[in-house]
Symmetry: C2
Subunit: 321 residues, 2 copies
């Protein structure tokens, strides 16, 4: 541990993981702690910082930590705050970057999970030579990080890149945000399950209430599709159709060279990619056709959030230097 | 004419206008020539350059021209070329920026009309202190220029900002681009006329073929609406509803602080703005509500294209200096 590194911190609803990562993307140290249910963010932040300080001391690298990058739900880059995150027990607007910075005595930077992952793709993944791309996370919801000319787009308020809440079907499925027809109600693990249940109910309306909804998740539908179940296959097909349409529509804003798909649903591979690309090309304005790629992210799934968070710090330090 | 200035050139289907504009946006000299129907772009470019050279010579300011900015349909910023412009008689890909630069012996830069106008709003209009905004031109079609963190978004290929071809109504009106339901089929002078004719036909299907379509244009519908015609009023209302929805959806990408509307339809003022803002706020994700403004452009309509084109050059020279 004698070369400089940054800390990447990924604050999740259940666990908070953190790592020391050098400029080449090597993970030098990694640990995690339960996020906990305390209303006081100092509880979590102190536990993380105490562990990081021990790790620095035991390896004699107290002077090698250069900065901290944090990925957090509802994280705002401009203010360095986490704002009313629905899956955390903190209330209100918490100055998380400032708190980490003060405890560790290095600069700290914060953004939301999808933005951090997009930055990770640029630093450590397959977007190293791409200056315009969009990173899409397909998990419980749909998150996005938009990169224009080599820089993440934050917008005037830090809340750019909320593609999951682009309305794709007017008067469509009810979304948790209060509106209807948002992209993430169709293209996410949750959306896939809804689509599959709708198909089952359409096949057999009378018995639809008897379906054991408890066992049906994205993994279940994937396994069924791979085993030849046409309904499951069609559920992926429909998900890809909507996703392809939405990505084609998004091209008119920033004209990216590539889309990187990440997360559970992206791992379905061709089952999702094939209908997505088909629908994408079909719906594209002709000037964009056959030149924009849609691929699965090159980041290792388990460490993507940490690599993304650390790359945020590396990127800022590059700008400062 | 003893202070430095840039030339702004606006190549249109009928006329090509050009002006010398200083860094404060003052127009020092202005003229225009017919674009002409020659297949050889040298014909137009020579006539413009000859006139500019005479103007420079007669005022003894040969050394004050610093650069040239060009706004042109289908203009590509990266290559400086005009590519297959449908309303020009040139065939193929024409290196217009290079041709102007060589004849006038100063650097020349080129982009499409809407991008140039967005740049003009930033330099000489009401976006001087705004780093994230979207400029919308509502003419025969709908053009857009997207500004992120003080820079125009060009995308990987120079074709970013084609919001007129965002599909807002699936299987909607046929667009000239070959797809259906594009925004500009609803929110443009052409779209307004289509909407009004649809309303008239809906009121009286049997006599709809007898409508004198020759007299119906955006100005006619505006005058009717101001005179109390409910159908004309509703046509504007519907246009605003779709525009507000589309702008709300566009916010999730770059989270702009403002939208600037420009062009004939924008001059309808409250008739269009009121339903647009109503629909915009109704369709916005809650984190964006009540903080993004939609206003009419602050650029003088007659000179907006020239100011925009010149500001493109001023902006580039700023970067070079």
């Amino acid at each position: 541990m004698n070369q400089p590194f940054c800390a990447g911190i990924d604050i999740g609803g259940t666990n908070t993981s953190f790592a020391f990562i050098d400029q080449a993307g090597n993970i030098i140290y990694k640990n995690e702690v339960p996020t906990g249910k305390s209303a006081d963010p100092n509880d979590l932040i102190s536990r993380v910082c105490d562990d990081m300080k021990s790790a620095l001391a035991s390896s004699g690298s107290e002077n090698d930590l250069r900065g901290i990058g944090i990925g957090a739900p509802n994280g705002n880059y401009f203010s360095g705050t986490v704002e009313f995150a629905p899956n955390l027990t903190w209330y209100g607007v918490i100055p998380v970057a400032k708190m980490f910075s003060e405890k560790m005595n290095v600069p700290a930077f914060l953004t939301n999970d999808a933005n951090a992952a997009a930055m990770g793709e640029m630093f450590f993944g397959d977007a190293k030579d791409i200056k315009d791309f969009i990173f899409i996370t397909l998990g419980t919801g749909l998150g996005s990080g938009i990169v224009v000319n080599g820089n993440l787009v934050y917008g005037h308020d830090g809340f750019a890149g909320e593609m999951g809440h682009c309305i794709v079907i007017q008067h469509g499925r009810q979304c948790g945000c209060g509106r209807k027809g948002c992209l993430e109600q169709y293209c996410s693990a949750t959306g896939l399950v809804k689509t599959y249940l709708e198909i089952l109910a359409g096949n057999d309306p009378e018995n639809s209430s008897k379906i054991d909804r408890g066992i049906i998740n994205a993994k279940y539908i994937y396994d069924r599709a791979m085993a030849g179940d046409e309904d499951a296959f069609y559920a992926f097909n429909y998900t890809g159709e909507i996703l392809g349409f939405a990505l084609a529509n998004s091209v008119v804003y920033t004209s990216p060279k590539a889309f990187f798909l990440f997360g559970g649903l992206a791992n379905a591979g061709e089952l999702l990619l094939t209908p997505t690309i088909l629908s994408f090309e079909k719906n594209l304005l002709s000037i964009y056709k056959n030149k924009i790629k849609i691929v699965v992210s090159g980041l290792p799934e388990n460490d993507a959030a940490l690599l993304g968070a650390a790359s945020l710090a590396w990127n800022e330090l590059k700008t400062i230097a």
